[in-house]
Symmetry: C2
Subunit: 347 residues, 2 copies
Amino acid sequence: MQTALKAATIGPRGANPLVGSILVDERGRVLAAGHHRGAGTYHAERDCLASALAAGITDFSATKLYTTLEPCTHYGRQPACTDLITEAGIPTVLIGARDPSTNGGGVEVLRSRGTEVVDGLLRKQCEQLNHRWNRAVKEDRIFVTVHLAQSIDARIAAADGTSQWITSETSREHTHRIRQRVDAILVGTNTVTTDDPRLTARDERGALTPGQPLRAVMGRSEIPDLAQLTQGRPEGEGWIHLRTRDPLTALRTLAETQHNGHPVKHVLVEGGQSVLSAFFAADLVDEIFVYTAPLILGTGRASLTDIGVTTLAEARRYTLDAADGGPTTIMNNDVCIHLQPEPKGAH
Amino acid sequence: MQTALKAATIGPRGANPLVGSILVDERGRVLAAGHHRGAGTYHAERDCLASALAAGITDFSATKLYTTLEPCTHYGRQPACTDLITEAGIPTVLIGARDPSTNGGGVEVLRSRGTEVVDGLLRKQCEQLNHRWNRAVKEDRIFVTVHLAQSIDARIAAADGTSQWITSETSREHTHRIRQRVDAILVGTNTVTTDDPRLTARDERGALTPGQPLRAVMGRSEIPDLAQLTQGRPEGEGWIHLRTRDPLTALRTLAETQHNGHPVKHVLVEGGQSVLSAFFAADLVDEIFVYTAPLILGTGRASLTDIGVTTLAEARRYTLDAADGGPTTIMNNDVCIHLQPEPKGAH
């Protein structure tokens, strides 16, 4: 199960949980490993079985499947993993954590078909792996990734407002890769007025990638008619204005919004200061990428402002996230720190 | 020379430059490598020769020594490297950069003794390695290391002033290791009044290490009689009050101060906001360690304030420093980023 956990952390966080699976033979030797690469791609179990098939394995009658999360029972964008396991004829499945979402119930389904199921192997670690995704599921809200792109002294613009570019091209390309796998990008009205961003996902050559995310603007102020993010189209056609300052209300509206043929389940909140601070204040940030550029401005706009914390003991605490590239990555001369909220009771 | 350069970066920055040396045989095979570990320790050449001797090498008549910096001619806390090379009988020495300090002149000394000297091998890279040390030498001032210990949003205290501890114990132990190898620690009068630090170098068990650094306080305000850093002793006995707000004046006074039997040549500036900002404003920071703790405060005291930069193009720019542990180190849950000023004209 440790091997499966390690495989799980290769994947990216988002609408779907991190999952890793390994297939072993009767002597415990690893025959194949798999992991989930994000919404719309193979689940870990299928990824693992595909690897096994590619390696020429066709007889699964003496194998065991370890998987960090209960196999799904739901035929969504991907076939139900319980069905794949049954069809392959895997007699024993060892499961880490239960799935609290509507995809759950795999343990019972497999047992009803005669599969031997060992439940709760390294349960705590397997649950911890997706503790924040579990919470988003329980709160019935979409998963929130945040990015901060700032100087060493946490400024996002100099005193005169200049801000392009504080971070390196490598960091900005990384952001575009995140944009490619979220359902929506969210910024505040002030950011639209000040920076007039396009909010598109582009590849290394600057070309638009397929399946562009929804462009969402949050706040009570109006959006300028000529704002680039509208692309000259009326609201509802690729972009939306969430007329609220409350992040939870904004998330609820996004969850009810269909985009690219499915509801929004993962949003990247990019800025600015007020919107980001509102999400941190409400403890609605599930994942953070902090890009620190090696420069100092001294004054200028800070990346964050009041989040309702007045004393150190109340600070919002995070922990380094080993998933999706690891806790720190050097991006040209910038350092990207990957964080997730500390599990409750950890501090 | 690339191998020698790599060896050089193992060492710490400070009063002395980073230097690496390797000894090769007639076929170019590396027999021994050495590097400098900071003021008061073996120079790289001696470190390399000691390794060679330890490996049983006694005949140097067919060897060549590559060294990133011109060997010293000065018998200070360590014997002159030119003498060691001559005594060992090494016939050929290949040198990267010249030494701009009073220790220079090794090329001429060696040639006058009949040693073959190749000068300027990878000179640019060897000079770049110590570009900021070279500048401090040219400006005839002491080397300045700075540490920032801050939250993700660059706060050093919460709104109510609480600040102990933002960073982890591992980060604070790392700071104590830096304190052990500087000649002086500098803070502002405001830090003394607010935090009342001891400014001592302690080991992992909390015990004082031998050869404590000078405790220096900078600023026009008075120091409270009961301040811990005085240890109940009069000024001049382990501590000094620099009655100025100008960092260069403070450095000049420190340079004229004898401590532990020699003049102050390397200072660690620890805070607070005004003192650090004054050093950054004056471009007198040669090395930075930024400890980022994974927490967010939103408001509270910022690590830095106005440094005279009003627009992005004027930002103080730094570059990741591969020396002394590398550009990033995870310290428990904190991330330490190691930086040095960008060489002029690099941006």
